[in-house]
């Protein structure tokens, strides 16, 4: 391969093009200015999205990565630019989202001198990134970028940080690009162990009440079809984690709903009744398991995962099948006997009926009183396109949206699961709309969450991605209020919000909007939301003391559901 003599900053951009990057999210500053200068020459091949805050850039990149499956790329400057992406890194680390964050750094002779806008970015980002590395010479840039993309994408995806000094961006180097194919200290895809496959198949073949827990690993491994074949062959009902929800989109008879604290009744109760529990690409988060001391003690447990560190991190298992689920699921499916567990599968029905009567129907079809959150979400869901992407903020809006919005296509959910980052919704929805312009992106957010990153309306104004923003305004920090009502004797400490006029703020950014207070106007407003080309902000005043039910209080048994009725 012939080398060419170019600046480090140009080497970086050429390397990104080699990795098929066409969009970067970022914010310029003194230590990354050379890269932005080079980007100016590449503006026809790499689209730059200037967000209004670095946190917006990193969340937008996460939204982009979730819908495209490709790493989101972020450019930020040193010091505050880099520290402002830490929340996004932590979020991406917990939710296995591939990101490549390029942070400018002060010139190498200044490192360690407390120079202007100098921060120990590698030190700060290490605990929340899959790999974090400082580049001090231009010659290292192609190698570091190749390695960064390999690490971000391969195996269990995650965020990677390259901290590139200003002199490395400026100096000349002989550029030649070689993609990274192998790192001897990193085995992204563990070799499938045939013994484990046979043991797993034997346990499932012997099961009378098998139950599967579907996690995001299925989506990351692109194993959606393999999962359906697996569940169908042995007639295994399943529940999904929050991030696993779009793995089985579009209504599949064996998918019985969401697991966890605000999940569906059947999947949670059946976790405590099944005889073989099959966890697939999920990590037994405490919001799913409740109290680990009592969790699924009656069952044999099989864990399919790609990450060895997840095995027995939280739950002791009988069989661990370490591999990409795209490989392990078909291998186990091949050994499964065709089975029918009709009575067991049918036994979910009574729980579904109970939940419908006690929770769902009053939530989505209220006959009187204020508008409810579920009512809005259900109506939006019914009117949304089949390819819609659901984006959410964090809190009640998120739990309600994930409960009542019907996901119909793959990669259709953008939400902050593990970290629970308020303020994630708006920028992440923008990133999703930029990554998948042909899809309809519906964002449900709260009056609290949207105000954490509301400046990103400016990004919508400038680049015009189509984001259908629905603010469920209950004039409270609703989820904390819910806990205060239930567990803190209704002492509403710092949860009552005084809010601005949201449609007026949207109008200031040139975004059409509307506010709905009464049930009669809701359907028409939602029609307007979808009929309007581009973004639209719909604020709905909902029930102030709305609660998300059912609920498993934190740290209690997985079948300890409260209904509030």
């Amino acid at each position: 391969m012939e080398s060419i003599r170019i600046k480090g900053a140009e080497a970086l951009l050429r390397a990104l093009l080699e990795e098929k990057v066409d969009t970067v999210f970022g914010y310029p500053g003194g230590s990354i200015i050379t890269v932005f200068d080079a980007l100016y020459s590449f503006r026809d091949s790499i689209r730059q999205i200037l967000t209004r805050h670095e946190q917006g850039a990193v969340h937008a990149a996460q939204g982009f990565a979730r819908v495209t499956g490709e790493p989101g790329v972020v450019f930020v400057t040193s010091g505050p630019g880099a520290t402002n992406v830490i929340t996004g890194l932590a979020d991406a680390m917990l939710d296995s989202t591939p990101l490549v964050v390029i942070a400018g750094q002060v010139s190498s002779p200044l490192l360690g001198s407390d120079a202007f806008q100098e921060t120990d970015v590698v030190g700060i980002s290490l605990p929340v990134s899959k790999w974090s590395y400082q580049v001090r010479t231009a010659a290292e840039i192609p190698w570091a970028v190749a390695r960064a993309f390999y690490i971000a994408r391969e195996g269990r995806p995650g965020p990677v940080v390259l901290d590139i000094t200003k002199d490395a961006q400026n100096e000349m180097t002989d550029y030649v690009y070689e993609k990274c194919q192998f790192i001897r200290s990193y085995q992204p895809n563990p070799d499938l162990d045939q013994t484990a496959v046979e043991e797993a198949a034997a346990l499932i073949n012997g099961a009378k009440r098998p139950f599967a827990l579907v996690g995001q690993g299925v989506i990351l491994g692109e194993a959606e079809e393999a999962l359906k074949a697996f569940l169908t062959k042995a007639d295994i009902p399943a529940g999904a984690t929050l991030l696993g929800l779009p793995a089985v989109a579009g209504g599949f008879p064996l998918m019985k709903g969401m697991l966890g604290m605000h999940g569906n009744v059947g999947p949670n109760r059946k976790t405590a009744e099944c005889d073989v529990l099959i966890a697939i690409g999920m990590r037994f988060d405490d919001r799913v398991t409740g109290d680990l001391k009592t969790y699924a003690k009656q069952a044999k447990i099989i864990h399919f995962d790609i990450d060895p560190a997840e095995i027995e991190k939280n739950v002791k298992v009988d069989v661990a099948v370490l591999a990409n689920v795209k490989e392990s699921l078909p291998a186990v499916t091949a050994l499964l006997k065709e089975a029918s567990h009709k009575d067991w599968v049918d036994s979910f029905k009574e729980h579904e009926d109970e939940e419908w009567q006690r929770v769902i129907e009053p939530e989505i079809h209220p006959t009187a009183g204020p508008i409810t959150m579920g009512e809005v979400i259900n109506m939006v869901s019914e009117k949304a396109a089949a390819n819609a992407v659901l984006a959410t903020d964090v809190g009640q809006n998120q739990m309600m949206a994930c409960r009542y919005f019907k996901l119909q296509s793959n990669r259709s959910l953008v939400t902050s699961g593990g970290l629970g980052t308020m303020g994630f919704g708006l920028p992440a929805a923008i990133g999703a709309a930029i990554g998948a312009p042909e899809r309809e992106v519906c964002l449900f957010t709260g009056d609290g969450g949207i105000q954490m990153t509301i400046q990103e309306l400016g990004t919508i104004m400038e680049y015009k991605p189509a984001v259908k923003i629905i603010i469920l305004n209950n004039k409270f920090l609703g989820m904390v209020r819910q806990w205060q009502e239930l567990f803190f004797r209704e002492r509403y400490s710092s949860t009552i919000l005084q809010n601005p006029d949201f449609p007026m703020i949207a109008a200031a950014y040139g975004i059409p909007g509307r506010k709905v207070v009464k049930r009669e106007g809701l359907a028409e407003a939602i029609d307007e939301l979808f009929a309007t080309k581009g973004s639209f902000l719909l604020e709905v005043e909902v029930e102030e003391n709305g609660m998300v039910y059912p609920m498993i209080p934190a740290g209690t048994n997985v079948d300890n559901l409260i209904f509030g009725d």
């Binding site: 030190g123 290490l126 194919q181 192998f182």
Partner: protein, 186 residues
Amino acid sequence: MEKIVYTITVYTENMVGLLNQIAIIFTRRHLNIESLTVSKSSLPGIHKFTITVESTEDLIIKVVRQIEKRIDVLKAFHYTDDEIIFDEVALYKIPTDSLLDNPEIETLMRTYNARIVEVNRNFAAIEMSGSADVIQSLFDELNKFKVLQFVRSGRVAITRSTQERLSNFLAEMEEKRIKAMKACEK
């Protein structure tokens, strides 16, 4: 579950920041590192960390997996004391006068198999290697005659196993590298 001393050995690529990456895994779980030595390993380009920590086996297994999860870590292992041969080195500095005035010190040095590495008008430096207990016990004895300085190294250890797990791992990785390169040529 009972807390005992575990020795964790970690083999890494020779890159900046590895110590930090490993240390934060202990910090996160509020585990106190009892001793730590870092040096080149017998294999070129590979560094070896030997860490001792008091904990339960359950927790140690999780910690070792999380260490191994770091990209630049090749392999991490954990051992109980009976699975390894280990040693520490200690240096003791005592006034030369004490040495001359107290024949018991010579006896102690013979008993403990310690040796003098330097002696001058002012002080004598004594070196001994052994287990942490023995090193402490010599200190207690010598301190009756006033020890001026006392330092001990962290633990170094080799396994009793006949399998060289790291070499096997590296051989396996080399095969994988060749396979990956061939796959991408196609």
